[in-house]
């Protein structure tokens, strides 16, 4: 974060989607990252929920930042976030029942996603509404990108294709049971795949940013 705690709109946006991209740079919000990235579609759904909650909670926290008592701060943050997560959860239950069933407890677990509390504390509690909303949007997009990327790697290695719905399936590696050559690696959708893939991605990011410096 910039030293004087004053952020510009452009700075906040760039920070979110690249220089301070959550998960990869800040190591925040790992639980949902690892748990829901078994496929691109669930990663995307989760990411969009986080974008929604992050924007709304940042806006509300920013509006009430001058009224907060320091020791009740975290409690107010979590309560605000819980309210918006309830909205997102009910929306999913009503319009995407299948995804809601698949993501299960991980949607309510957005409440304790460290990214959201960290942004409320580091950005929204110190900045105006506009900057906070942009920051929420950018951080959310950065988070969603990582989720989709991780989901894509795991889904392709585990099944050979990316499926958006029952009919729209994008085959990338032709699996053996459909007459191709690729033997699907089931371990990739298990917890092992999540940890090892994320570890290797982090390693690659470290390597790349070290070369630049």
């Amino acid at each position: 974060m910039s030293e004087n705690n004053e952020m510009t709109v452009g700075g906040a946006f760039l920070g979110g989607i690249w220089t301070e991209i959550p998960v990869l740079r800040l190591m925040l919000g790992l639980c949902p990252t690892l748990a829901v990235t078994t496929s691109v579609k669930s990663g995307l759904t989760m990411g969009l929920c986080v974008v929604f909650v992050l924007i709304c909670s940042n806006a509300v926290v920013s509006m009430m930042r001058n009224l907060l008592k320091p020791h009740l701060r975290i409690l107010m943050f979590t309560l605000t976030i819980a309210a918006f997560v309830t909205i997102a959860d009910m929306y999913l239950k009503a319009f995407q029942p299948e995804m809601s069933l698949k993501l299960g407890a991980y949607i309510p677990l957005i409440i304790v996603n460290c990214i959201i509390i960290a942004r409320a504390e580091a950005c929204a509690a110190k900045n105006g509404v506009l900057v906070s909303v942009v920051d929420g949007l950018a951080m959310g997009i950065g988070f969603t990108m990582v989720l989709c990327f991780l989901g894509a790697i795991r889904e392709v290695l585990a099944t050979g294709c990316i499926s958006f719905s029952d009919t729209a399936v994008l085959t990338i590696l032709n699996p053996v049971d459909k007459g191709g050559w690729f033997t699907p690696c089931t371990a990739m959708i298990m917890p092992v795949g999540a940890f090892v893939t994320l570890g290797l991605i982090l390693g690659a990011v470290n390597q790349l940013s070290r070369k630049k410096a």
């Binding site: 409690l75 309510p108 677990l109 298990m190 390693g203 070290r210």
Partner: protein
């Protein structure tokens, strides 16, 4: 007798087979963040176990005596997070007043526990699995905490040895920890299917 066996199976199941860290990725942040030293990891584990048991029991009671009979399920998440934050605050105040040395040794971990996914996750899963017996809920809550303690202690033990190891420069720190965690989950997959 059947009930006692069920309790035992539930406990073993949640510690080894459905371990929250290894199979549900709950509590991954402290699992990777605080597992640098064994004594700190153990302290964190104990604090989490204590709060989990308390919060699991309390949220079960609120859910079954209050929210479900009065059809207030929509406020569930807000209630849960309030109970957890309240429980953490209570534990903090109690320890500070009556057990200052213990309070000192927990230090920063206590407030951090509020945002530990193990606790909220457990409360949500108790609801999702439709646990309808209070004793079972308490046993499962305690088991989840013990499972977390075990996982974070194993990890801390490995990481203390990793400091001596010769790792590629770009994998140092978080990446190698994640890969180690992956291999650990692979080991714990061996327990899967032990209890039907």
């Amino acid at each position: 007798m059947d009930f006692a066996v069920n309790l035992m199976l539930g406990f073993v199941g949640i510690v080894l087979i459905n371990n929250f860290v290894f199979t549900k990725f709950l509590g991954t942040c402290p699992y990777l963040g605080v597992s640098g030293r064994l004594d700190m990891a153990f302290g964190m584990g104990l604090a989490v176990t204590f709060v989990t048991t308390l919060a699991g029991a309390l949220t079960w009671l609120i859910d079954n005596l209050f929210l479900i009979p009065y059809h207030l399920e929509i406020t569930r998440y807000v209630c849960y997070i309030l109970v957890i934050a309240g429980a953490v605050q209570l534990v903090e105040m109690y320890l500070k007043k009556f057990f200052p040395p213990l309070y000192e040794s927990f230090g920063i971990f206590l407030p951090l526990i509020t945002t530990n996914c193990v606790i909220l996750g457990l409360c949500l899963f108790l609801n999702l699995w439709e646990i309808r017996s209070f004793l079972m809920a308490v046993v499962l809550s305690f088991g989840a905490g013990m499972g977390f303690t075990m996982a974070i202690c194993i990890m801390a033990g490995i990481r203390e040895n990793l400091e001596m190891a010769d790792i590629p420069e770009c994998l140092k720190g978080a990446p190698i920890t994640l890969i180690t965690a992956g291999l650990l989950t692979l080991g714990f997959m061996g327990f899967a299917g032990m209890i039907k």
